[in-house]
C-alpha cells in the first residue's frame, strides 16, 4: 500500500470535486460521499502505518515543472512521521465528517460545507506527504485557504467574517516568513527536497548561520499556522466557525500543520542551538499565555481555544528542547482528546444554543454522554493517569528536564505551571457546565442529548482519549517512540511527581472554588485586580495589533495619498496659490470656497474619512509634471552615476 500512498491524497480531492459538481443531485447533498471517502482514506492510512511500522518507507518523485536549469519536483515521502500524521488527520477528519452529518443538518450551505471539508482534508494530507518544501508550502497555503472558507462558513454574521479574514491574514504573515526561509534554503543549497536537504545538513554542507536563519524563518511559518506567540491571536477568534470545523482545525489540520512543519524540517533545527532555543522559548511563552487566558474565559469554546494555544505551545516546546518524539506524541494524543472536547462542546452548543458557561449548569442530568465526554477529555487534557495526556505531558516535561538547550529550564517551569492552570480551568469548565444548579432555566428545559450520529463519534473519541497515550507507554514498550526513532526513554521521578502534583493541585483548586465554594471567587479577583484585568483582556494583543499594524498600514496609505496630493500639487501650486489667495482676498469670490464646496461634496459622497485618501489630483498637468520631474531626476542620477 505504501507505494500507492498518493491515493490517500487524491481521494479527498476527488470527493471535493464530485460533491461540488454533482452534490446537488446526490442523496443528502453528497455528505455520505465525503464520509465514505475519508473512511476509505482512514483505512488506507492505517494500512500504511502498519506497513511503515514493519519497516516500509517510500519516496516517489517526478519532475513537475522544468524551466531551463531549474526544476520543481512533485512527489511524496512516506516515513514513520508522515504515516503517524496521516492516521491522525484521517481519523479526526472521519469522525468530524460523521459528526457533521448531525451537527450541520439543515444548514443552508450543507453541500458547500462538506465539499470544503473534503478540500481541507485534501490540503492537509498533501502537506503531510509532500516530499519537498515547496510542495509543502503549496499545501500550507491551501490549508490556510480552506480554513478561511470554513471559518467563514456562516458569513452572514460579522463575527465569522472578521474571524476568517483574521485567520487568513495572520497566518499568511507567518507563511511569508516560511517563504523567505525557503528562499534562503534554495539559495544556500539549491534543493528543496526534504531527503536531499537532510542529507546535506547531516553532512555539514550547509553553513551554520544559514541553517539557523532558515530554521528560524521556517519556524515563522509554524508560528503563524500553529498560533504561537505572537501570532496566536487568530485561533480563539476562529471559534466563530462551525464547531466541528473547530475540532478539525484544533485537533488535526490547520494548527497541527505548523507543528508538523517543524517536525518535518527538524533536521534544520537540530544542529542549531539558537533555533532550538527560539522554538523552546516561544513554545513556553505560548503555553503560559494560553493557559492563563484560558482560566478567565467564560465562553466554553474559547476556553478550549486557549487551551489549544497552550497545548500547541507544549508541542513547540517539546520540539524546541530537542525531542521530536515528545512533540509528535503530544500532537497525537492531543488530537484525540481535543477533538473530543470540541465535539462535546458542539453537542452542548447544539442543545443550549449558547457557549456562555455562566448560563449553563447541571447539564449532566440532561446530556450524560456529552458530560462524560467532556470529563474524560478534560482529564486527558489535564494529564491525569492513565489517560492520553498524562503520557505525552510527562514525556515533554522529561525532555525539557534533561535537555541541554538554553531556555529549556524556562520551558520546563512554564510547562509545570501550565499543567496546573490547565487542570484548574478544565475543572472549572466541567463544573460550571455540567454540575451545580442550572442558571438559565429556559435553556435548560429545552436541552437534550444529541442524536447518535453525534454521540457515536464522541464515544469512539472517548475510548481514544483514554488509550491513545498507551502507544508510548511501558505497556507498549514505547512503540511510538521507537517508530519515530527514539533510542531510549529517561523518566525522572521528580518530574512525574511535579507533573502529577501540579495537576492534582489544579483540580483541587478548581473543585474548591467552583464546587465547594471554599474560597470566594470575588475575593481572589479583587486581590489580583491588575493581573486579572491584564489576562481578562488577553494581554491586550488585539489592541496592540490594531494600534500598530492596522493603524500603521492605514497611515502608510494616507501618507501616500497625502504625498501624491499635497507634495506634488504643492510643487505646482506653491507660489501660484499664494498669488491667487492674495489677489482674490479682495475679489468677488474665493476660489478656495468653491474648491472647498467641491471637495466637500466629494467627501460626502465617498464618505467621511476618505478626504485624505484622495490619491491623485485629477489634473493632467500634475501627471505630466511628475512624469518629467521623474525623468529629469533619473537623467541627473544617471549622469552622476557615470562620474
Amino acid at each position: 500500500m505504501t507505494e500507492h500512498a498518493w491515493l490517500i491524497v487524491v481521494l479527498p480531492l476527488v470527493s471535493w470535486l464530485l460533491i461540488s459538481a454533482f452534490g446537488r443531485r446526490l442523496k443528502n447533498e453528497g455528505d455520505w460521499l465525503g464520509v465514505v471517502t475519508i473512511g476509505v482514506t482512514l483505512v488506507l492510512s492505517l494500512v500504511v502505518l502498519w506497513e511503515v511500522a514493519g519497516g516500509a518507507a517510500t519516496r516517489v518523485s517526478v519532475p513537475w515543472l522544468v524551466m531551463g536549469d531549474w526544476q520543481l519536483d512533485m512527489g511524496y515521502l512516506i516515513d514513520p512521521l508522515a504515516a503517524v500524521m496521516l492516521v491522525v488527520v484521517t481519523a479526526i477528519s472521519f469522525l468530524v465528517h460523521v459528526y457533521s452529518m448531525g451537527y450541520m443538518h439543515g444548514d443552508a450551505r450543507y453541500r458547500r460545507y462538506f465539499a470544503t471539508l473534503s478540500f481541507f482534508t485534501f490540503s492537509m494530507l498533501g502537506l503531510v506527504v509532500a516530499d519537498n518544501l515547496i510542495l509543502l508550502f503549496f499545501f500550507f497555503e491551501l490549508v490556510g485557504l480552506a480554513s478561511y472558507l470554513l471559518i467563514g462558513h456562516w458569513y452572514e454574521n460579522l463575527g465569522p467574517r472578521l474571524a476568517s479574514l483574521k485567520a487568513f491574514i495572520v497566518t499568511r504573515i507567518g507563511d511569508l516568513a516560511f517563504l523567505v526561509g525557503l528562499a534562503v534554503l534554495v539559495l544556500a543549497t539549491g534543493t528543496t527536497g526534504i531527503p536531499e536537504l537532510r542529507e546535506l545538513v547531516e553532512h555539514h554542507q550547509v553553513p551554520a548561520t544559514v541553517l539557523t536563519l532558515a530554521a528560524i524563518l521556517v519556524f515563522g511559518g509554524a508560528v503563524g499556522k500553529s498560533a504561537q506567540f505572537p501570532l496566536h491571536v487568530w485561533l480563539p477568534d476562529a471559534m466563530e466557525g462551525p464547531t466541528p470545523v473547530s475540532a478539525l482545525i484544533h485537533a488535526a489540520t490547520m494548527v497541527a500543520a505548523g507543528v508538523y512543519l517543524v517536525a518535518r524540517s527538524f533536521f534544520l533545527f537540530e544542529p542549531s542551538a539558537t533555533a532550538l532555543s527560539v522554538v523552546a522559548v516561544i513554545g513556553g511563552i505560548t503555553a503560559l499565555l494560553g493557559a492563563t487566558i484560558g482560566v478567565l474565559q467564560t465562553d466554553m469554546k474559547r476556553v478550549m481555544a486557549y487551551s489549544t494555544v497552550s497545548q500547541l505551545g507544549y508541542m513547540m516546546m517539546a520540539l524546541g528542547v530537542g525531542s521530536l518524539v515528545a512533540g509528535m506524541f503530544h500532537l497525537w494524543t492531543h488530537a484525540f482528546f481535543k477533538a473530543l472536547l470540541f465535539l462535546a462542546a458542539g453537542s452542548v452548543m447544539h442543545a443550549m444554543h449558547t457557549m456562555e458557561m455562566h448560563s449553563m449548569g447541571g447539564l449532566y442530568r440532561k446530556m450524560p454522554v456529552t458530560a462524560w465526554a467532556t470529563i474524560i477529555g478534560g482529564l486527558a487534557l489535564a494529564g491525569v493517569w492513565p489517560l492520553a495526556g498524562f503520557y505525552s505531558k510527562e514525556e515533554i516535561l522529561n525532555a525539557a528536564f534533561y535537555s541541554g538547550v538554553s531556555g529549556a529550564g524556562f520551558a520546563f517551569w512554564a510547562g509545570v505551571i501550565s499543567a496546573l492552570l490547565t487542570a484548574f480551568y478544565m475543572t472549572r469548565a466541567v463544573i460550571l457546565v455540567f454540575f451545580g444548579r442550572p442558571r438559565d432555566r429556559h435553556r435548560y428545559e429545552h436541552a437534550h442529548e444529541s442524536p447518535p450520529v453525534m454521540t457515536v463519534p464522541l464515544a469512539i473519541l472517548m475510548v481514544l482519549a483514554v488509550t491513545a497515550g498507551w502507544v508510548n507507554a511501558p505497556i507498549s514498550h514505547h512503540w511510538f517512540g521507537k517508530l519515530l526513532g527514539e533510542a531510549e526513554v529517561h523518566l525522572a521521578p521528580i518530574v512525574t511527581v511535579l507533573a502529577v502534583g501540579a495537576t492534582l493541585l489544579g483540580v483541587a483548586a478548581g473543585y474548591a472554588i467552583y464546587a465547594l465554594r471554599l474560597v470566594d471567587r470575588r475575593a481572589v479577583i479583587n486581590a489580583l485586580r491588575p493581573v486579572y484585568t491584564l489576562v481578562r483582556n488577553k494581554y491586550y494583543f488585539d489592541e496592540l495589533y490594531n494600534a500598530t499594524v492596522l493603524r500603521g498600514s492605514l497611515r502608510l496609505a494616507e501618507w501616500a495619498a497625502w504625498f501624491d496630493q499635497r507634495v506634488i500639487d504643492w510643487l505646482v501650486n506653491a507660489v501660484g496659490y499664494v498669488a491667487v489667495k492674495l489677489s482674490e482676498a479682495a475679489g468677488k469670490f474665493d476660489l478656495s470656497v468653491v474648491d472647498g464646496l467641491v471637495n466637500g461634496a466629494a467627501a460626502v459622497t465617498v464618505g467621511a474619512g476618505r478626504r485624505l485618501r484622495t490619491i491623485q489630483t485629477g489634473f493632467v498637468q500634475t501627471y505630466i509634471l511628475t512624469f518629467f520631474a521623474a525623468l529629469v531626476v533619473g537623467l541627473v542620477v544617471f549622469q552622476l552615476w557615470r562620474l
Binding site: 467574517r161 501627471y623 549622469q639
Partner: protein, 491 residues
C-alpha cells in the same frame, strides 16, 4: 543620372514570399478593415460583427502556422521570428479574443459603435504583436503608435459620457508625451550606434560605442525607461492609469491593461536585453527601484479605493510592479519568469475585468456596493472572480502563484533578496483589497435579488479567461517549456 549606392537593397521577390510570416497581422488588419467597411451597412444590427472579429482572430491563430519554428529576421529585417515572438503573438491574440468575447453585451447596452470597437481592437492587436516581434526601432515605434492611437479612440468611445471623454484626453495627452520621450531616446540610440536594428545596436555598443558615447547612452537609456515605464504603468510614470482605466469603457480598460502593458514589457525585453544589454547594471538597477515603487504604491493605494474599476487599475499597476522584477533581475530565469507572468496576467486579469464588464452591462456601476450579494445573484461569476483574485494575490495552484513564485525565486537567485521580500510582503497587502470585493460578493446583502444576465458569447470569453488561469497554473509544465524557449539572452 549617377548610380547611387543604395543602403539595404532588398529583393522584392523574397520580400513577397516572406509576407507569409506576417499572415496573422495581415489577417487581423484585413478583418478590421472589412469590419469598418461593412459596419455602416448594418445600421445598428452590429451584434453579428463579434463573430466576424472572433473568426478573424481565430484565423490569425491559424495564420501563425508558417511562422512556427521559423528563426531569424525576415521581411528586410523588419520582423523577427524567435522564441519571444512565437510566445507573445498568440498570447496577445488570446487577450484580444477574450476581450472581443466579453464585449458585445456591454457595447449594446452602452451604445458603443460596435464595428469601430472591434476594428480598433484588432488594429491595436496588430500593433502590439508587431511591437513584440521586431528588432527594428521604427517598427517598434509604429506598432506602439498603432496600439496607442487605437487606445486613445477606444477610451473615448462612450462619447457622451464625461468620464470616458476625460479618460480619452488624459490618455491621449500623456500618451503622446510618452511617445515623444520614447522617440527622443530612440533618436539618441540611433545617433550613438548608427543603426535602428536592435541586434546591430547591440553589436555597435559592445564594439566600443558604449564606452565612447557613455553620457549620451545613459541619457538615452533613461528616456527609454521613462517611455516604456509610461506604457507599462510603472510608478512614477503611472499617474494617468487609474483615471484612464476608470473612465474608459470597461472592455477597453481590460484590453489596455493586458494588451498595451504586455506589449510594453515584450518590447522592453527586446530593447533593453538585446539592444542595451551591455549597460545592463544601469538599467537593471533603475528597474529594481521602479519595481519596488510600482508594486508598493499600486497595492497601498488600491487598498483605499471604493470603486472597483479604479481598484483594478491600481491592481494592474501593482501587477506591473511584479512583472518589472523580471527586468530588474534580467537573468534568463528572470526573463522567462516575466514571460510566464505576462501570460498568467493576461488571463487572470481579463477574468477579473470580465466580472466588471458583466456588472456594467447589467446596468450597474462598479462601486463596491454593487458587488454586494453577487454571490447569490450570479454565483458562477462571483466564484470565477474570486478565483481570478486568488490568482492575482498568488495563492496556489493558480497561474498567479507560479508566476509570482518564479519571479520570486529568480530575484532570490540573482541576489535581489530585498526585492523578493518586497514582493512577498506586497502580495500580503494585496489580500486586503481583493478580499474587500470577495466579502461584498458573498457576505453582504444584495439590494435586489434580481438575477443578472449574460449572453453565451460573454460566457465563452469569461470561461476562456478563467480556464486559462486554472490551466496555466495547474498544468504549468508545458508553459514553462514555452517560456524557457522564448528567453532572450543577455549577450
Amino acid at each position: 543620372m549617377p548610380t547611387l549606392p543604395i543602403v539595404g537593397e532588398v529583393d522584392t521577390a523574397v520580400l513577397v514570399a516572406q509576407l507569409i510570416f506576417l499572415l496573422p497581422e495581415l489577417i487581423l488588419a484585413v478583418t478590421g478593415t472589412v469590419i469598418v467597411a461593412i459596419s455602416p451597412l448594418l445600421r445598428g444590427r452590429e451584434r453579428p460583427l463579434v463573430f466576424v472579429a472572433a473568426t478573424g482572430v481565430l484565423a490569425a491563430f491559424a495564420g501563425l502556422g508558417p511562422s512556427v519554428g521559423g528563426a531569424g529576421e525576415v521581411l528586410a529585417r523588419m520582423l523577427v521570428l524567435d522564441g519571444t515572438s512565437t510566445f507573445f503573438r498568440p498570447v496577445f491574440m488570446l487577450g484580444a479574443l477574450i476581450v472581443i468575447g466579453l464585449s458585445p453585451d456591454y457595447l449594446a447596452r452602452r451604445q458603443v459603435p460596435a464595428g469601430e470597437f472591434y476594428a480598433l481592437v484588432l488594429f491595436a492587436t496588430v500593433g502590439i504583436m508587431l511591437m513584440a516581434s521586431t528588432h527594428e526601432l521604427l517598427m517598434l515605434y509604429l506598432g506602439l503608435e498603432l496600439a496607442s492611437i487605437s487606445g486613445y479612440v477606444l477610451a473615448g468611445m462612450l462619447r457622451s459620457d464625461a468620464r470616458s471623454q476625460e479618460a480619452s484626453i488624459k490618455l491621449f495627452l500623456i500618451g503622446a508625451m510618452g511617445s515623444a520621450v520614447l522617440l527622443f531616446g530612440l533618436s539618441l540610440v540611433y545617433g550613438i550606434t548608427g543603426s535602428t536594428n536592435l541586434v546591430e545596436i547591440g553589436h555597435a555598443l559592445t564594439g566600443g560605442a558604449a564606452a565612447t558615447f557613455r553620457p549620451a547612452l545613459l541619457a538615452a537609456t533613461m528616456f527609454l525607461v521613462a517611455g516604456f515605464g509610461f506604457k507599462m504603468a510603472a510608478v512614477p510614470f503611472h499617474m494617468y492609469v487609474p483615471d484612464a482605466y476608470e473612465g474608459a469603457p470597461t472592455p477597453v480598460a481590460a484590453f489596455l491593461s493586458v494588451g498595451l502593458e504586455g506589449a510594453a514589457f515584450a518590447a522592453a525585453i527586446r530593447v533593453f536585453v538585446t539592444g542595451l544589454g551591455i549597460i545592463q547594471p544601469n538599467w537593471a538597477a533603475v528597474f529594481a527601484v521602479l519595481a519596488l515603487a510600482t508594486m508598493t504604491l499600486g497595492n497601498v493605494t488600491a487598498l483605499l479605493q471604493q470603486n472597483v474599476k479604479r481598484m483594478m487599475a491600481y491592481s494592474s499597476i501593482a501587477q506591473a510592479g511584479y512583472i518589472l522584477v523580471g527586468l530588474a533581475v534580467a537573468t534568463d530565469r528572470g526573463i522567462s519568469a516575466m514571460l510566464y507572468y505576462v501570460l498568467a496576467y493576461t488571463v487572470m486579469n481579463l477574468g477579473a475585468w470580465a466580472a466588471l464588464i458583466y456588472l456594467s452591462h447589467n446596468g450597474q456601476s462598479e462601486e463596491l456596493a454593487d458587488f454586494a450579494g453577487l454571490g447569490r445573484r450570479a454565483p458562477l461569476v462571483a466564484w470565477a472572480l474570486t478565483f481570478c483574485f486568488l490568482s492575482l494575490i498568488g495563492i496556489p495552484p493558480t497561474a498567479g502563484f507560479f508566476g509570482k513564485f518564479l519571479l520570486f525565486s529568480a530575484a532570490v537567485d540573482a541576489g535581489l533578496f530585498w526585492l523578493a521580500v518586497a514582493m512577498a510582503v506586497n502580495s500580503v497587502i494585496s489580500l486586503g483589497y481583493y478580499w474587500n470585493v470577495v466579502r461584498a460578493m458573498f457576505m453582504e446583502e444584495p439590494a435586489t435579488e434580481e438575477p443578472l444576465k449574460a449572453s453565451p458569447v460573454f460566457g465563452l470569453g469569461f470561461t476562456l479567461a478563467v480556464l486559462g488561469t486554472l490551466l496555466i497554473g495547474l498544468g504549468a509544465a508545458p508553459f514553462f517549456r514555452l517560456v524557457s524557449a522564448a528567453v532572450v539572452t543577455l549577450p
